[in-house]
């Protein structure tokens, strides 16, 4: 491929930022894949997979969060449960919810990484 038949290259960094621009260090196959119709399909499917994953994790978290006051309202007996005089509602909302958040985050990071390496394998043709 000679220089003449390449389209003119235009930078899409924020023009007013002072970001340093490093030269691309990517295999040609990858470069081509990113800018062809096939590459576009790959990127769209990556985006869809990441968005679906994010929505599932966010939805799961919010569902669990909302279920705490809901369960307490439906089953008032639960409000009387306590550990070392601390009611379960305090225990969950004040402490246990945080490790649960970290668990959600960890699951997301693991799966988002998997989506990305699947994409990388597709593009690099392995």
């Amino acid at each position: 491929m000679s220089d003449a038949d390449k389209p003119a290259r235009v930078r899409v960094t924020a023009p007013r930022s002072k970001a340093t621009v490093a030269p691309a260090r990517f295999p040609v196959a990858r470069e081509v894949a990113e800018h062809s119709a096939v590459g576009d399909v790959f990127v769209r499917s990556l985006m869809r997979a990441q968005l679906r994953l994010a929505l599932v994790v966010a939805g799961g978290f919010v569902l669990v969060l909302l279920s705490v006051p809901l369960l307490l309202a439906v089953f008032p007996v639960l409000a009387d449960l306590s550990v070392l005089t601390i009611p379960v509602s305090w225990l969950i909302l004040g402490a246990l919810i945080y490790p649960f958040m970290c668990l959600c985050a960890w699951l997301f990071i693991r799966n988002a990484g998997r989506n990305e390496s699947r994409y990388r394998d597709l593009v690099d043709g392995r």
């Binding site: 990127v43 985006m47 985050a105 990071i109 990484g113």
Partner: protein, 508 residues
Amino acid sequence: MNPWVGFAAVAAVSVMTVVISVFGLRISRTTGDFYVASRTVRPWWNASAIGGEYLSAASFLGVAGLVLVSGVDGLWFPIGYTAGYLMLLLFVAAPMRRSGAYTVPDFAEARLASRPARGATSVLVIVVSWLYIVPQLHGASLTLRIATGLPSWVGAAVVTLVVCISVVAGGMRSITFAQAFQFWLKLTAIAVPVVFALLVLGNTGQPITAGGSVFEQAMNTAEDPSTYRNVSLTFSLLLGTLGLPHVLVRFYTNPDGGSARRTTLIVLALLGLFYLFPTIYGVLGRLYVPQLAASGASDATVLLLPGALVDGAAGTLLSALVIAGAFAAFLSTTSGLLVSSAGVISQDVFDGGVLGFRTGALVSAVIPFALALMTESLGLAGSVGLVFAFTASTIAPLLLLGIWWRGLTDAGAVAGMAAGGTLCGAAVLSAAVLDLPAGPAAELLAQPAAWTVPVAFSVMIIVSRLTPRRKPAAVSAILVRLHMPERSGRSGRSGRSDRSTSSRRNGG
């Protein structure tokens, strides 16, 4: 309380902050160093710095005050503050880092290829930073007044001055070190006194939970919030975190998208650990300093509890420690906000150089200081919550739609931000001015996020659909850049996201 203890604590934290920034100045040389620490900050450092910056007056003082007056309902605030980071991780962290922009307006301009959209975003970022600095200064006033008996304006003035010196001297790199240091200072300052107090109570056989009665609703002094209020508040905290400019700017200091995600996970763990302690203060406060709720000084719970529980020299030392921690909270959040606001002012008003950054920092310090002197604190957690509602109705929809939806246009983005910002601002102001009797109307105005956020999203989508020709030609290339993983998982120090991309016809 002996005023000299307060003086010593405040002076020690202020001097340490300035020393760290000046030390940092020696290792920050280029403009890149100055703005985003040249993107070489490692996840643990960065996570500590994010935690240090994020834990503001509302977290350090406000959460305990809320638990003191409203019991278990007060716990929704720290949950929202922390879960906001989960949302940030899920929807924004890695793409934001890969966008390669320094600030939110940079992102708006790169994504929408539009100067007007950049301008609108810049104005919002500056407004949000200034509004968020004001409660920090109120917290400083409260702390210094309680600790030393000095008039209120002194606390605000000290914070403004120290932050100005450290930001103007060091820029972002030194701020990263200072913030990371301040997270651990804050954690120590809030954890040690309460653990000590618990040990003392346990040893002397004094009640800790009074057989569980401290948890009862009958101990609440605030009226029970409605379900609408809790839902709207949690909603605004979840989405509002996405739009906080000082939080976003931190993500640009990660080397790549993957480390931006790992950083966020560490932040979640650090915040979860931190929020255990203000909750314990609030619970103990319900038993030992209930008079604070009656006198409307519930925000002072953290400051006064150690002295009330532990006598003598130990009590004095512990009080000094919490005062130092509270001051660290004001200093770190304020300097983070100052950095982001100064960065925007520098790039949009001046030529983007270091001199413009310093001028911007001075301007953004003086104006909130004036605002803080003119206004009265309404409860720290509440006023910070309103800033979250504002960012959730403006910057959050821009980021979410900009990252995940091809169809967003500059006209749509500006219209949506204008609609969300105007409605949210008007609702909060009219709630304050009209002073409606408690009821649905007052609730809708006082906690507007539940309806202003959907309105902002809808306006953005509808106007974008009406102006499809304004979609940037290179939208596909831009989205490739946001979502493409760096070449290999852990490396990526070389600017993958900074590389240039070929332009081509818009495919969708």
